[in-house]
Amino acid sequence: MSPTAAPLDPAEVSAIIQQNVHREGPLLPILHDIQTAFGCVPDAARAPIADALNITEAELHGVISFYHDFRSKPAGARVLKICRAEACQAMGANAMSEKVLTALGLGWHETTPDGAITVEPIYCLGLCACAPAAMIDGRVKGRVTAEALLAEVAP
């Protein structure tokens, strides 16, 4: 998933729709592909999607806002996802994420003012036996510490 915003290209939106529209249940694949291309699901992409699938923009908004993955604005250049689930909590994830958020001056779901880092909670990466776990720009990390995460995202 590209963390940087790309200018909206109507031809590309249309191509993404066309590649998927024949599938059974095409909306989620379309939204994923749009977000991969543009870093988010831009408002300007909504009308053509709603038109192609013959749904209202209200219905489309309902779907986009239901899922945690879809963004209406691009995330920071680096995306740090920290697992908050029970197995990670058993290994000190609460204190660890507190430290990271404090050091970056962020709350969950927030991006640094310079757009460098976004921190998000995630509920289970399946790395429960090497907890606490995190993901940086899509790459998984096990047995992480606050220091190691900060060293990687904010050197």
């Binding site: 989620l28 899922y67 945690h68 689930a85 509920y123 289970c124 399946g126 790395l127």
Partner: protein, 498 residues
């Protein structure tokens, strides 16, 4: 020299890619296998010596030269490490042993034997094998798989579907991820057999976006399976079956089968009321098998070794083996596949060696975020469906998350409510509002309001009886089990305030 370095996400999370690159740079032939499931030893590097695969772990880049020269200290033959040797691996027989994307190795280790047998059977006979195996849905509800399949088989429709629920999002569970990354053809074979059994020609794997490595491996495996006629015209039998991976979008509730169906159709992942059953009106209103990854990945071994062989393992009506995932604050965390019936305490103390911190174990949560906490007093409970139900819990996806004595049980109960509030689909009131009120009520208890305890109990009853699906209906399990077994933690604040 040939070395095995796992490509499993847990191994990668602990540095396997760097170790593999170092072996390649040193001129070794590197096979990226799945994980053997001994996560505390990852990355677990294996080298063939005198016909056995000898292990080195947890390996670092600094160990590479020593391993190649034969001077590094080994763990001995990997399959003789006690944690591994004590298992009965049926579903996971190949995971870690083979290159996950080598169809030749898959076949050399028993792969496609089951599918070839199933191709010689009628749909009804396939269902009979499933029924006699005693396999129950490994996703949590424990419904007999053969009966679910039979309902779909007997439904009349021009199109039926096999949907694999790979949206396992339960904390402490990673068996689905491991089998998809370590033996993806096994899941494909299971889905094809299911398709033959019920007369479905199309399958979907609804895979959670939190598992990028599993998505990549599954997609590659499907492509290889198509090129080799495992998919398409199945082994040139003129039976058609194809599979597509669909990626979820970060909604826990989509692991509930009716929410999953809505999500797959491109809608909000809200729960559907049942009836109609998905078996009769599922994806796009057509008859649909929805099974979890481990259920489907267990099908090939049932057809390979026979239903009787599979059913000979287990305890009572809990037949066969279960891949138990041991995690959290634990010394030897990993995947342990064993016949149903092992006491919970043996898993925690003997197999896993107790807590990683060395402190006393205080509680284990079994079955994911909606599972009950078990204090050591309940450690004699045999790991099986009915005994766990009788002890006020559930085995769910069979995740066992260990906590030491520093765990804050009121805090864990509050987290269960908070998680339910974040992930509720919002369709039913007990879950949508109950979870928010649950967080508030637990905060009142924390602040010393004793009248909030009966309120919490009442709220949990309402959520349990009144919610549409397991998210709201089972959140009371962790909350009530924490309250019942650790009442002092829910009273401390009050006493301090008095």
């Amino acid at each position: 020299m040939k070395v095995w370095v796992p490509r499993d996400a847990a191994a990668k999370a602990l540095g396997a890619d760097e170790v593999a690159a170092a072996f390649e740079a040193a001129g070794a032939e590197v096979v990226r296998n799945g994980s053997r499931g001994m996560i505390w030893l990852e990355p677990l590097v294996e080298v063939e010596q005198d016909g056995a695969r000898v292990g080195y772990g947890a390996a670092t880049v600094a160990d590479v030269a020593g391993i190649l020269e034969g001077t590094a200290e080994s763990l001995g033959p990997v399959e003789q490490i006690p944690f591994f040797a004590k298992q009965n691996r049926l579903t996971f027989q190949r995971c870690g042993a083979i290159d996950p994307l080598s169809l030749a190795q898959y076949e050399a280790h028993g792969g496609l034997v089951g599918l070839r047998r199933a191709l010689a059977m009628k749909g009804e006979e396939i269902i009979d094998v499933m029924k006699s195996s005693g396999l129950r849905g490994r996703g949590g509800a424990g419904f007999p798989t053969g009966i679910k399949w039979d309902t779909v088989r007997l439904a009349v429709a021009d199109q039926k579907y096999i949907i694999c629920n790979a949206d396992e999002g339960d904390s402490g569970t990673f068996a689905d991820r491991m089998i998809m990354e370590g033996d993806p053809f096994c899941l494909i074979e299971g889905m094809v057999i299911a398709g033959l059994g019920v007369g479905a020609t199309k399958g979907y794997i609804y895979l959670r976006s939190e598992y990028p490595d599993a998505i990549e491996v599954m997609q590659s495996a499907i492509e290889i399976a198509r090129q080799n006629n495992v998919l398409g015209d199945v082994l040139h039998s003129s039976h058609e079956f194809d599979i597509e991976v669909r990626v979820g979008a970060g909604a826990y509730v989509c692991g509930e089968e009716t929410s999953l169906l809505n999500s797959l159709e491109g809608k909000r992942g809200v729960v559907r009321a049942k009836p109609p059953l998905p078996a009769l009106e599922g994806f796009l209103g057509r008859p649909t098998v929805v099974n979890n990854v481990i259920s489907l990945a267990t099908v090939p071994v049932i057809f390979e070794k026979g239903a009787e062989h599979y059913a000979s393992f287990g305890l009572g009506r809990s037949k066969g083996t279960m891949p138990i995932q041991i995690a959290g604050n634990v010394k030897h965390g990993g995947l342990f596949e064993t016949a149903f019936g092992m006491p919970l305490g043996d898993l925690v103390n003997d197999i896993a060696g107790g807590s990683a911190s060395g402190r006393p174990v205080k509680a284990v949560q079994v079955g994911g975020p909606l599972g009950a906490y078990f204090a050591p007093e309940k450690f004699d409970t045999p790991f099986a469906y009915e005994p766990f139900d009788g002890a006020g819990g559930l085995i769910g996806h069979a995740g066992v998350v260990v906590f030491d004595d520093t765990a804050d049980m009121l805090g864990m109960a509050r987290f269960a409510m908070e998680f339910c509030a974040i992930e509720s689909c919002g369709k039913c009131t007990p879950c949508r509002i109950g979870a928010v009120r649950g967080v508030e009520t637990l905060d009142r208890i924390r602040e010393g309001d004793a009248t909030a305890i009966p309120l919490l109990v009442d709220l949990c009853d309402t959520m349990k009886d009144g919610s549409l699906c397991a998210l709201g209906g089972f959140t009371p399990y962790p909350v009530m089990s924490a309250l019942e077994q650790f009442p002092e933690e829910f009273a401390v604040a009050r006493e301090a305030a008095e």
